[in-house]
């Protein structure tokens, strides 16, 4: 058993973090949400670094690592509030051409979710549709949609979808569930990063902001909130890493399976569901704590804490949320008694 990063993984996370800090400053990230603000140059740079190629086999132009490494990078992308269709791109990296190198931008829609809202549709080339009978692709121009003037998350443009063509099926009904589980794990990795960063910015503010003649971080009313944020993140991180290891063990190279669920796959699905529940809670709760600790400043557009909460909210609906994951765990529990 080894659930800690090795030197290569530390270096990988470090490189991803440096890229985010240099290329995706708060100003840049906010710019992505403006009309026409999606910066394809920066997106291509992110792709050029192999972000979506890490887990692809070398024979297919990938780096030949596993989903564990992808998850570690996604944690950093979440921390850096990097905008763009990260999960969609990773999920179709080996399936649709042009995505890995950023030539084509894809977005993802869950059909049957009632109101259909697609992120980044205005810049997308392809739309990936998750349906009960598999995953489908349509050209973005074939989708009838209204761009929204005001997305909740100011870093991402969204469109309300009015009509979706059927399109072509790219993933069959049997592979749909593991595919979506992988997506949910990637969302959890982003949420982990969001929760982690929210704790860090709030801690930095609590050290610097003074009231009653001392740093507000000295008051237990404040420091206990931050300690809770930290502890939630620690547990969530362990769960996300464990789920990534289980996913890599059950499907080497990230291949999708059409077989009946093996015990390894069942364990991987359970681990991914637990990771999602914990990471989603950490992201939302820690972002709320960050706003609360910033006081009135946290309620302003100018400061960043609201960006963490809004990203956390936006991620909640992707590839099923924590509620779906909790029900999946309940199903697993009932099967084992």
């Amino acid at each position: 058993v080894d659930l800690d990063l090795d030197a290569d993984q530390i270096a990988l996370q470090d490189a991803a973090r440096k890229l985010c800090e240099a290329q995706f400053t708060s100003e840049v990230v906010r710019g992505f949400g403006a009309p026409g603000g999606f910066d394809r140059g920066r997106w291509s740079q992110l792709c050029a670094l192999g972000t979506f190629a890490l887990a692809l086999p070398e024979a297919r132009g990938g780096v030949g690592l596993t989903i564990v490494d992808t998850v570690l990078v996604f944690e950093e992308l979440g921390r850096g509030l990097v905008p763009g269709p990260l999960v969609a791109s990773q999920l179709v990296a080996g399936v649709l051409p042009g995505v890995v190198d950023g030539e084509r931008v894809v977005t993802i829609v869950e059909d049957g979710a009632g109101v259909l809202v697609a992120e980044h549709l205005d810049v997308a080339d392809d739309v990936v549709i998750v349906r009960a009978d598999g995953v489908w692709r349509v050209g973005a121009s074939e989708v009838v949609a209204q761009p929204s003037a005001r997305a909740v998350d100011p870093t991402s443009r969204v469109s309300v979808v009015e009509a979706l063509p059927v399109g072509e099926r790219i993933i069959g009904p049997d592979e749909r569930a593991p595919w979506r589980t992988t997506g949910s794990l990637l969302v959890a990795a982003l949420q982990l990063g969001v929760g982690s960063a929210a704790t860090e910015v709030a801690t930095a503010y609590a050290l610097e902001r003074r009231q009653f003649g001392r740093a507000i971080g000295s008051f237990q009313a404040v420091k206990h909130m931050l300690a809770d944020s930290f502890a939630r993140t620690e547990v969530a991180r362990a769960a996300v890493y464990a789920a990534a290891v289980r996913a890599a063990d059950s499907a080497p190279g990230g291949a999708f399976s059409s077989r009946a669920l093996s015990s390894d796959e069942a364990r991987a699905a359970r681990a991914a569901a637990s990771a999602r529940v914990l990471a989603e809670h950490a992201a939302v709760a820690n972002a709320k704590t960050a706003i609360q600790v910033h006081g009135g400043m946290g309620f302003t557009w100018e400061m960043d804490p609201h960006l963490y909460l809004k990203r956390a909210w936006a991620l909640e609906s992707m590839c099923g949320g924590a509620d779906d994951a909790a029900l999946a765990i309940a199903h697993d529990l009932a099967a084992s008694i």
Partner: protein, 395 residues
């Protein structure tokens, strides 16, 4: 990163699986609860069986009778014992996990020779005399006084939360030997033989209705200076040394029990009717049960992370305090759901058929044991905030 076990660890697991059923068959079916003498006999009986098979104190160094087990092997050991339904340490807890390791690190060769083999064999039961009515979270303010008189200390004071004091042979006792020095600098660590004149033990019933706890009254008890561990006034450091033995495994048995509670609760939900179906048909209940199971899954993963680091010699408050804080929260959450789900069955502690209602209700009460004992959740939050996040102390 990998979750697979090594060849050696798998072999160790197989060895335990081969041994456990036969050993457990030699134990009485139920651990006595209220008859303290019988309970001690049960606990040390199990310890003796482990000793004879070479599994006593496996995490202790080989030169002191242990097996030098790595934290990872210790994890396997606790996992297999729990899976087989083996007894927990019970009365042997302080000896095996606290007093023993302290004597290994700080005791004289004579003290080690007298006590370590006896602890491993189950011949000696120890209790802990640290907390006092006026010294809980602020342990260093303890006031039990020890005055040197020739070759003896004369000790007077009161200790509390002394688990297994009634059955214990020895007590690891923290006393104040210097009232003038700063509070951490005037404390001494003594071995108190529990049969000494002037020692009075009064059982203290817990909210669970059991008599595990006791108060300890010390009235001019004479303790030989030879029973001092470490130097006079250096007892705080000696007591803290034990924490360096913490290797991420302290709560493993309890965590596995909590996971069993979740399974019991799910089974109870299937058996209990509600609104024309069963409680399990309520998606709100299923979601909450799933979310609680997620917490325990995450805590298991954090245990594996902490054990990984401990194997490499890294033990941080980030891992330990985060675990304890979140584990306590999850236990309370499980307790809340249990009582909600059990309904009328939650009014009795006696087990009703196969509902496990008694076990679940007692776990709901025991959640406070987790959030209060060994550093309250409030103290864990201070530790994380100050030692990990670097926030200043409250003025």
């Amino acid at each position: 990163m990998q979750l697979a076990y090594t060849e050696d660890e798998r072999r160790f697991r197989d060895e335990l699986r081969a041994w456990l059923p036969g050993a457990l068959a030699q134990m009485p079916p139920v651990r006595p609860e209220h008859d303290l003498v019988a309970r001690r006999a049960y606990d040390v009986g199990w310890q003796r069986l482990m000793f004879e098979a070479g599994y006593a104190g496996i995490h202790w160094p080989r030169e002191h009778g242990g097996r030098d087990a790595t934290p990872s092997e210790h994890l396997v050991f606790l996992e297999e014992l729990s899976a087989a339904g083996a007894p927990q340490e019970g009365a042997n807890y302080v000896g095996l996990l606290h007093a023993g390791p302290t004597l290994i690190a700080e005791g004289s060769p004579a003290q080690q020779a007298e006590h370590l083999p006896a602890i491993l064999r189950g011949d000696e039961v120890w209790c802990q005399g640290f907390s006092e009515p006026g010294a809980g979270s602020d342990l260093a303010s303890l006031a039990t006084r020890a005055v040197r008189e020739g070759d003896e200390y004369i000790v007077t004071g009161q200790k509390i939360w002394t688990s297994h004091a009634v059955e214990a042979d020895f007590c690891e006792l923290l006393v104040r030997t210097d009232t003038e020095a700063p509070k951490h600098k005037g404390i001494t660590w003594l071995i108190l033989p529990m049969r000494s004149p002037g020692v009075e033990v009064r059982p203290l019933r817990t909210i669970e209705g059991t008599d595990e706890f006791a108060e300890l009254f010390l009235d001019e008890v004479r303790i030989p200076v030879d029973n001092r561990v470490g130097a006079e006034n250096d007892g705080w450091r000696v007591a803290m040394v034990t924490f360096s033995f913490e290797r991420g495994t302290s709560f493993v048995s309890q965590l596995l029990e909590s996971m069993r509670d979740v399974r019991d609760l799910v089974a109870a939900c299937h058996a209990l009717p509600a609104r024309g179906a069963t409680v399990w048909d309520d998606p709100g209940v299923r979601r909450e049960a799933g979310a609680i199971a997620a917490e325990f899954d995450g805590l298991w993963a954090l245990t594996q992370r902490n054990v990984t680091r401990a194997t490499r010699g890294v033990v941080t408050p980030a891992g330990g305090s985060s675990f304890k804080l979140q584990y306590a929260e999850a236990c309370h959450r499980l307790g809340d759901l249990s009582l909600r789900v059990l309904g009328n069955a939650g009014l009795v502690v006696d087990e009703i058929e196969s509902l496990a209602n008694g076990r679940l209700v007692r776990s709901a009460m025991h959640a406070f044991g987790v959030s209060i004992a060994a550093g309250t959740s409030q103290i864990q939050r201070n530790i994380i905030a100050e030692r990990v996040l670097g926030l200043p102390k409250e003025a």
